[in-house]
Symmetry: C2
């Protein structure tokens, strides 16, 4: 992971469909070694995939909700079980295990509040071991970034 690798990763975060030729020029390499580095970055799982950025509203997901979940038990088994269950919920875009009261933070998308209510009732609250929930609604996203900061190196 040298400076050129970081440039490659950065360029690909900014434009995931850039060609190897353009990428090579951008980072100051010729195409073949650039492609070799790209292969390595994927093998090492620095780059784990590629994705289109989509406007959720245009797909009908107008609502974003953050849900704090506190589990009854916070041992490994309880957390693993919750994790397996939450992986099956497509509405959950992000899920973080937090410090402190060792609760869990979810970012959930939904079509509207009715759909979110259905998610809570039929999905989230069906998961055993939940002590309590707290939902906070987002009015809008001010920032949604896909490019990590420059690692100082």
């Amino acid at each position: 992971m040298d400076q050129i690798d970081r440039k490659i990763v950065r360029a690909l975060q900014q434009d995931g469909r850039i060609t190897v030729l353009d990428l090579a020029e951008k980072v100051g390499l010729s195409p073949t070694p650039c492609a070799r580095r790209l292969d390595r970055l994927r093998r090492d799982e620095v780059i784990t995939g590629y994705s289109a950025q989509v406007d959720p509203e245009k797909l009908g997901f107008g609502v974003t909700i953050f849900v704090s979940v506190e589990l009854e038990k916070q041992d490994r088994n309880a957390i693993d079980a919750f994790e397996r269950a939450i992986l099956r919920c497509d509405e959950v875009m992000e899920c973080y295990l937090m410090t402190g009261s060792r609760d869990i933070l979810l970012r959930v998308v939904a079509r509207d509040l009715t759909a979110f209510d259905a998610f809570l009732e039929n999905r989230l609250m069906q998961i055993p071991g939940i002590r309590n929930l707290r939902s906070n609604f987002a009015l809008r996203a001010m920032v949604k970034r896909d490019v990590l900061p420059m690692a100082t190196g």
Copy 2:
């Protein structure tokens, strides 16, 4: 936005570098009309871009922190000013305007706690109009998804 468009968007979220040929086959179209739809989806900003998915840890960003910010005033001007300021912070990967006490939720990445402290001191707390802050630390990401749920249609 019909069912085929949704399939296209879904496939591109799953693999942002899929070729038009493979995409066409996947959604049951021939390449040319598939490419036309793709152009339209980009023009309509349903698809806003493409990005590589990167493992933050492998780039040295081992720490994720959620920061709740409460502003002194919650009028349009104060929020706009905060938004402009936060856009300049590369460490802020997401920022949501919330309901309730109309505060703001940030997801911040940092190299370590020292770097996060520097961000708080030199960046975030330099923004005027902040009444208070509350930081919550993530132990790890359980789920990080880039594919929106299927819109029922």
